[in-house]
């Protein structure tokens, strides 16, 4: 794997390799010294053209846990503000010879595009409404830990599918891991032709009970002004996931940040079947695994000896 640009480009085996690697980093995370020297002396750039809390912070912490040098660039306050093109910004940052560039951009294909302009491995941390592969990987990781396997599991993705890169990446990733996916929401927020990606489409929560996993999407305020839904009240009345609609054996997920009382009721968020906090925790180890696979996976031995038991050597201990 040279870059991580889209889940669409990953095979099931490649997804599993990243998840297995993430398991090994989870073990490192339980130690007192959580840092490993794998990427010592190498540079990771995070380049965020959109606001982000959990994705940017977890990629940055992941790079630090792997001992990489980190450059964080936000479009606000950088030369991007002065009108520098994406191509020139990438050329500038590439002059530091980074091992990886993690990019979030408001437009589809940005990560793929910069991969042509830099020698660094490129990680797509969200490109427009296209893909968000690291989110999909952490969601699959979270589910695999809970369910063992996604094979044959039924997963409902509920909400604003039209504007969601998470929905697209997860739809592909869940299916690739063997799950059956239904997307559900008002017809105005389900993209025309989405069923050709192999999912079912529903405009009602009536059959929600058949799902083992319910994945709710963020409903953005501005969709109201564009007549996608008449009001948040009506949306919530029709599509909000609450504890009455959920049954106790169903798992609930959400990519965050949640609009409490809109797509999810407060009770549902705080219920024991909610995996939202686990998703955030998974974000760190999965992003460590992504950087490791791209930067060290090919040429170095795995941090674990094949089989279980030995974890990567923490810094300060003899290797």
């Amino acid at each position: 794997m040279r870059h991580l640009l889209a889940i669409e480009q990953l095979s099931r085996e490649e997804i599993e390799a990243i998840l297995d690697r993430a398991e090994s980093f989870a073990e490192v995370g339980r130690r007192d010294i959580k840092k490993v020297p794998t990427l010592r002396g190498r540079t990771v750039v995070t380049l965020f053209y959109e606001s982000s809390t959990r994705t940017s912070s977890s990629f940055e912490l992941a790079a630090k846990r792997l001992s990489a040098d980190l450059i964080s660039v936000r479009s606000a306050g950088s030369s991007v503000d002065k009108g520098e093109s994406l191509k020139d910004t990438v050329a500038t940052l590439s002059a530091y010879d980074p091992a990886a560039i993690v990019i979030r951009h408001p437009y589809a294909g940005a990560a793929q595009m910069i991969a042509q302009w830099t020698g660094a491995a490129v990680v797509n941390a969200g490109d427009g409404k296209h893909e968000h592969p690291s989110q999909a990987l952490l969601d699959v990781y979270t589910l695999r830990r809970r369910l063992g396997s996604l094979d044959g599991k039924r997963i409902w993705i509920v909400g604003d599918v039209l504007h969601s890169r998470v929905a697209r990446s997860n739809l592909i990733a869940f299916q690739r891991m063997g799950a059956e996916v239904t997307v559900c929401g008002p017809p105005t927020l389900i993209p025309r032709g989405i069923e050709e990606l192999g999912c079912e489409v529903s405009h009602s929560l009536e059959r929600l009970g058949e799902a083992e996993v319910v994945y709710a999407l963020r409903m953005q305020q501005e969709r109201m002004s564009e007549s996608f839904v008449p009001s948040l009240r009506e949306y919530a009345a029709t599509f909000q996931i609450d504890t009455r609609k959920l049954n106790p054996r169903q798992l609930l997920m959400h990519p965050g940040p949640v609009n409490r009382g809109v797509e999810l009721s407060g009770e549902a968020i705080d219920s024991p079947q909610s995996l939202i906090a686990e998703q955030v925790a998974a974000g760190l180890v999965v992003r460590m695994a992504i950087l490791y696979e791209l930067l060290a996976g090919a040429e170095r031995p795995t941090p674990l000896a094949e089989g279980e038991g030995t974890a990567p050597t923490p810094i300060g201990q003899p290797a």
Binding site: M113, G128, K129, P191, R192, G193, E195, E196, L197
Partner: protein
């Protein structure tokens, strides 16, 4: 009236040459056979028996195995001048046309500022007489500065030489303004060419709305954003008995509307671009805006098939490139941010020959006929190879394979939708308005002894 009389071109020496043993095909004139095409003083003097044409010291082009067609006419070209000469101008755009086998083009008016006054037309015509390799006609905008509000001084524009009117690049949103323009056409003449799109429906769309846009997370342009506007304007044209030309048809629904309007004897003509006839929205999966972002967008295979069928049955009477040059910095950005449009003059014939004629989808005669079909809708006489007419000839080697971009482009811009494709069929020589407008560099002309 010859192209040289009705349009503007740089004055030059009239051609004297012989295309020896060329396979001459002009389906409209009923010419199909091997001849020596004798060109004297810029006119087709005779179609002599092969090997029999008298050279009289003129250049002789050994054209055995090559095809001589009436040169092509493109009613939809963006020359980008005034205002965007970094993308194209009269000189580079007409060189590009000549290299594609064209003997005439119509330049769109969505320049900066738009072509809205008689003085604008006069200045452009002067430029064409100074530097155009092939005859150019200039369109003027329908509304002042393309704002869609007030009509331009259409009578004065016509008197200054505007071939017709178009706000191409933008639709005329107001039905009232559209109706007024059609009424006023009775006074000034000139076909009104229409970019049909309902901006309420296309909104911020960047590609066809369908499974591919769903997969890519790109905002879609529904096919009905085009067809509903065509339906409106066909109804208005029928009401006013006015003459309209629908530009760059892209969707099956649009074809159905035009076909029905023609059946109802509305004065409507239509064009389709080579890229819409050859490609589908599947190409957009590459997220490459340089080759695959344009307006209207590439649509589904069923739409492409509907366009081909319409080309066959005459619902679409002509191929038009919508040649839309852009510089690299406007295309080296993510898909949604990139400028719309691709170049097409240099590849139109070769691409359609490769993609539609060679597989047997359409016949060579039909392609040759439709490549020059864009003249008549604008009241311009179509090029012909009949003896006695002005020499407008595209000499093509239908067996020549070439990779687009390998030899660069005559256009100032490089956003060809064919970039990197290997095409079969190449224009070797173009005669336009009686002059040699183009000869392929590697194809040397022998001189008779």
């Amino acid at each position: 009236m010859s192209l040289a009389d009705s349009l503007d071109v740089r004055a030059g020496d009239p051609a004297d040459l012989i295309l020896r043993r060329a396979t001459v095909l002009d389906p409209v004139a009923g010419i199909d056979g091997v001849h020596d095409v004798v060109v004297r003083g810029g006119e087709i003097a005779e179609l002599a028996a092969p090997g029999e044409g008298a050279a009289d010291g003129a250049e002789v082009v050994e054209a055995e195995g090559m095809h001589a067609f009436p040169a092509f006419f493109d009613p939809h070209v963006h020359l980008r001048t005034p205002g965007h000469e970094h993308k194209e101008d009269v000189e580079t755009g007409t060189r590009s046309a000549a290299a594609g086998g064209y003997c005439g083009i119509l330049a769109m008016a969505n320049t900066d500022p738009p072509v809205s006054t008689a003085a604008d037309i006069a200045a452009l015509r002067e430029q064409a007489r100074a530097g155009a390799s092939v005859p150019v006609g200039f369109m003027a905008t329908v509304t002042k500065d393309m704002k869609g509000e007030d009509l331009t001084e259409m009578v004065e524009l016509r008197e200054a030489g505007a071939v017709g009117f178009t706000d191409d690049g933008l639709p005329i949103v107001s039905a009232r303004v559209m109706l007024r323009a059609l009424q006023y056409q009775r006074l000034c003449g000139g076909t009104i060419a229409l970019h049909e799109e309902d901006p309420e429906l296309s909104a911020d769309g960047v590609m066809h709305e369908g499974p591919v846009s769903a997969a890519l997370g790109l905002a879609g342009v529904p096919s009905v954003s085009e067809s509903t506007m065509i339906a409106r304007d066909a109804a208005l044209a029928a009401y006013e008995d006015a003459r309209i030309h629908v530009q760059h048809l892209s969707a099956a629904e649009s074809v159905a509307v035009v076909r029905a309007a023609k059946a109802a004897e509305v004065k409507i003509s239509a064009e389709a671009s080579p890229h819409h006839l050859c490609l589908t929205d599947e190409e957009v999966r590459s997220l490459d805006p340089r080759r695959f972002k344009m307006n209207p967008p590439l649509r589904r295979e069923s739409d492409r098939q509907a366009l081909i069928e319409a080309l066959r049955d005459g619902t679409i009477e002509c191929v038009a490139t919508d040649h839309a040059p852009h510089q690299d910095e406007e295309k080296d950005v993510p898909f949604e941010q990139a400028a719309m449009g691709v170049t097409g003059l240099e590849t139109a014939f070769a691409a359609l020959h490769t993609e539609l004629v060679l597989p047997g989808t359409i016949g060579l005669e039909l392609l040759v006929e439709r490549m020059a079909g864009g003249a008549a809708p604008f009241g311009i006489e179509r090029p012909t190879l009949a003896p006695g007419s002005e020499a407008n000839v595209a000499l093509c080697d239908l067996g020549a394979e070439w990779t687009v971009g390998d030899d660069g482009y005559e256009s100032r811009s490089q956003n060809s939708w064919c970039a990197g494709r290997t095409l079969t069929g190449r224009v070797m020589v173009t005669l336009a308005a009686g002059q040699v407008a183009f000869r392929l560099r590697s194809f040397s002309l022998g001189v008779a002894s």
